[in-house]
Amino acid sequence: MKILEVNNLSKDFGGLRAVDNLSLAMEQGEILGLIGPNGAGKSTAFNCIAGVYPPTEGTIRFCEERINNRKPWDLCKQGLARTFQIVKPFSSKTVLYNVMVGSFANTDRKSTARDKALDVLDFLHLADKRDLPAGSMTIADRKRLEIGRALATEPKLILLDEVMAGLRPTEVDEMVDIIRKVRDSGISVFLIEHIMRAIMALSDRLAVIHFGKKIAEGAPKDVAADENVIKAYLGDEYVVS
């Protein structure tokens, strides 16, 4: 089953076309990576899928259901969770509180939400930090908390927007392990990332966009050898022919 299907998606901001005729499809249980230079439209594409912006054109299907103008909170309850590139923790609240907000998506009972949140914190090795205020944590922990809150909503598909940016190499390795574990628990992962080492190792398939258009798609090593991709990242002179 296709978990996510994006067909001819375009998004305009005034005269600027941020996403241009983008088509993507994702199988269930897959890790799909999305890369591209800064300003290529990656986050905008994410925001359209997550219901933050209504698409200008095209259709988005999630679990074979059209979700074009659905609101973020409804999508979340259907099983589509996301993280933010710039982390947005509820800073004055504890880590546990933050994750519980997520786990309330599937229950009205506080004790159930608390149990679910504690499970997620265990899964992410954050359990010992559960009583710290989220605002006092390091960036690596805050990125992890972002994932934790999203996981607590019990998603089928999770959109990860640069969860490794700003991390040290060892922390990147830990995050790669976490994302693998997330996929192994049956959740499909769609991620944007700039750290090539990580995204090459993680992704089953990789899509590249540039100026809102998809310029390549396929297995990571094929994409890395693609002429258009090298041009987009390094400029015309670097193409070896």
Partner: protein, 341 residues
Amino acid sequence: MTRHQLQILSLVLVGVVSFGLPLVLRSPTYLHILILLYLYAYLTSSWNLVGGFAGVLPLGHAAFVGIGAYTSTILSLQYGLSPWIGMIVGGILAVLVGILIGLPTFKMRGAYFALATIAFGEGIRVMVENIDYIGPLKLNGPRGLEIPPLKTGLTHFMFAGKEPYYYIILVMLILVITITYLISQSKLGYYLNAGGEEPEAAMALGVNVVRCKLIALAMSSFLTALAGTFWAQFTLFIHPKSVISLDMSFEIAFIALIGGRGSIAGPVLGALLLRPVSDFSRIYFGDKLPGLHLIIFGVVLILVMLYQPRGLQEPLTRAYNRLLDRLTGARAEQALGRSRA
């Protein structure tokens, strides 16, 4: 004694003192001051459901006080309905008005929301000041409405002494604090806090932020309107400047900010500190320096914002917890010290 038992004991102590106070305190002046203190603690606690938990700053809550006061007064003066029934009707009316105000304004952020609520509050006051009749209902414009003290007793919500009013507002205050506590422990409380702090993140986690805020505003305006009826029955005279005044809206916000927005104890602590300042400065300086209490409010607000930006509730809670630790954990600490040595 365990920590939990101590907490209950201190709550019971506060309860006994507040219920027993009128037996000791015979002066009507002091009772009056206490009643106003509880009234403001009640108003601020009701405000806190939106202004504290939902993270917005509404500055027009006096409008709901006015709706409550006018509704119950008109119903009892013109139709002979008990103010208790009018109280509920006023509450329901306030909910409707609150939702009408909330629908457009909750799309705004920060200062714009605050300004819009001031505009709504003032708009309602100006309307009431300029309307003598709505159909058969007599509002009496700027002259206000007087409630003749003919029949006293519980059903008429009118008493000769101040003690019954004291107990009524005390019970109302305890109820609103209980409601606040229950909400803070519920899904709605989590969602309100989340939506107030980071709306975008909250939405992505399944929170319909605007709907949660509307629910909070509906509850807040209902509870606030009940205080309006109390005010009317307590003073027996209402006019637009007394029950729909901007000063009242501001004072509620002052108390909340100084006591601690979004906490349960904050509104009560804020009222405990600020109401006596307001009353005593009026008693002692009222003839020579009118308005001094507002200057004192301002100074206190600046000091608190500089040194305790989350309100007085925070250091006081810490002190209270430390006291509990000392009382309960003394023995445990000694044991720990010995094992270290």
